[in-house]
């Protein structure tokens, strides 16, 4: 779920877990894997976050929300945005994947299956509403850059699919 480079002070985990992703409020930023490190340097908490996509408009808000959560807990903090290593959907935790599905967003498939679903029209993405795999791609881009739009041919509901990014 994480790379060896992820380094988070245990004391800070419960605080950071309370900060949610502004675009997917059921998901904490920890479950998304966007927090790469959070460590104490004297009295200051230094936090490194990484964007899911370059243009992710949520990053500024996430930075502000982390500072607020830490300040409410009595810590001063400094946020740094880092680009390397680049975020991958592998960093979404199992709990995060479950939360996504319950929220109505299909979790990313493995890279091969992802390609089959997005490029070859294979019906393998599971509908988040009824669970059927009789689904089809409506649009390669969805409501945000990280998602594609699908439709279920059984229950007829449209839903988002979180694209695999590796």
């Amino acid at each position: 779920m994480t790379t060896t480079e992820q380094q988070i002070d245990e004391k800070l985990i419960p605080i950071l877990e309370q900060v949610s992703d502004p675009e997917i409020p059921v998901l904490s930023i920890m479950e998304m894997g966007v927090v790469r490190s959070a460590i104490f340097e004297n009295d200051l908490v230094k936090v490194q976050i990484t964007p899911t996509y370059s243009g992710c408009p949520a990053m500024d808000v996430i930075g502000d929300d982390i500072q607020k959560a830490l300040s409410d807990a009595g810590y001063q903090s400094e946020i740094e945005l880092i680009l390397a290593p680049a975020w991958t959907t592998d960093w979404i935790t199992p709990k995060g994947r479950k939360a996504l599905e319950e929220y109505g967003i299909a979790a990313p498939l493995d890279p091969i299956a992802d390609k089959e679903a997005l490029l070859e029209g294979k019906r393998i993405v599971k509908c988040t509403n009824c669970g059927s795999k009789n689904t089809k791609l409506v649009s390669q881009f969805g409501s945000t850059a990280c998602k594609a739009l699908f439709k279920c041919d059984d229950c007829q509901e449209p839903f988002d699919y979180f694209k695999c990014l590796k």
Partner: protein
């Protein structure tokens, strides 16, 4: 400025993303249908996100409290060094997709080399962007094929678009002075070496699309020296409107 070549080199890459991002942004609420509208604005958002990373880095190099916004909003037309291709207007959907495809094919090759740069920041931005730009290229290639190998009307329009934009493709492989310095330092990409791979990729897709590859002998250039087509001025007046009207405004 201590490292003017690096600064100019970064702008040479970033300006392309900014201007193409702005062009695609014009389609927000105006796409031919909802899915394409969303796709174009998503691609625009990726490009603007990449632009921000580059400009933030360039601003740091420039110093003097320069910000990414200064670079994006407060330069004059001749100070933008994007290639002419990306400033071309959207026109019909065939033009929009042909422009996107002709740029994406180049963009991906550039980033795959930039990823190996000795400059860690540029390498990181490139690595991040590759994932996004591969997806853009898939999308634009699909549309070139679908329209090229579609109806008589769509085929004609796509062929027209490719023919009219082809004259701007050669400039992608021209080196600037900053390019030459940066290539020597192991930071920049030698774009002259990308041409063969580019032509191969583009030809493959155009053939699949049943389209003819234009046989131009003469090509337009000038964007990399700040000499633009008439279209850039109008684009910038739109892009820079808020900062020019309310100087120093912030959201």
């Amino acid at each position: 400025m201590k490292n003017e070549s690096l600064y100019k080199y970064i702008l040479g890459i970033a300006d392309n993303s900014l201007i193409l991002g702005q062009r695609l942004g014009e389609l927000c609420g105006h796409g031919p249908n909802l899915e394409i509208d969303i796709a174009c604005t998503n691609i625009s958002l990726d490009l603007l996100g990449q632009t921000r990373s580059y400009y933030q880095y360039a601003a740091k190099i420039k110093g003097d409290n320069t910000t990414e916004d200064d670079i994006a909003f407060l330069r004059k037309e001749r100070e933008y060094i994007n290639v002419l291709l990306v400033e071309q207007p959207n026109k019909d959907f065939a033009h929009t997709m042909a422009r996107q495809f002709l740029f994406d094919a180049y963009h991906l090759l550039l980033l795959q080399e930039l990823e190996k740069s000795h400059d860690m920041t540029l390498a990181a931005i490139a690595k991040k962007s590759i994932k996004e730009v591969s997806y853009h290229l898939r999308f634009s290639s699909d549309w070139v094929k679908r329209l090229g190998d579609g109806t008589k009307e769509s085929h004609e329009r796509m062929q027209n678009a490719i023919d009219s934009l082809w004259t701007y493709t050669d400039e992608l492989f021209h080196q600037t002075e900053a390019d030459i310095v940066m290539v020597e330092e192991g930071i920049g990409v030698d774009v002259t070496k990308l041409r063969d791979a580019y032509l191969e990729k583009v030809s493959t897709i155009l053939e699949e699309a049943t389209l003819k590859i234009p046989e131009n002998k003469w090509f337009q250039k000038g964007g990399k020296q700040g000499i633009h087509t008439e279209h850039l001025g109008y684009l910038l007046s739109d892009l820079q409107y808020m900062q020019r009207t309310y100087p120093n405004m912030e959201w």
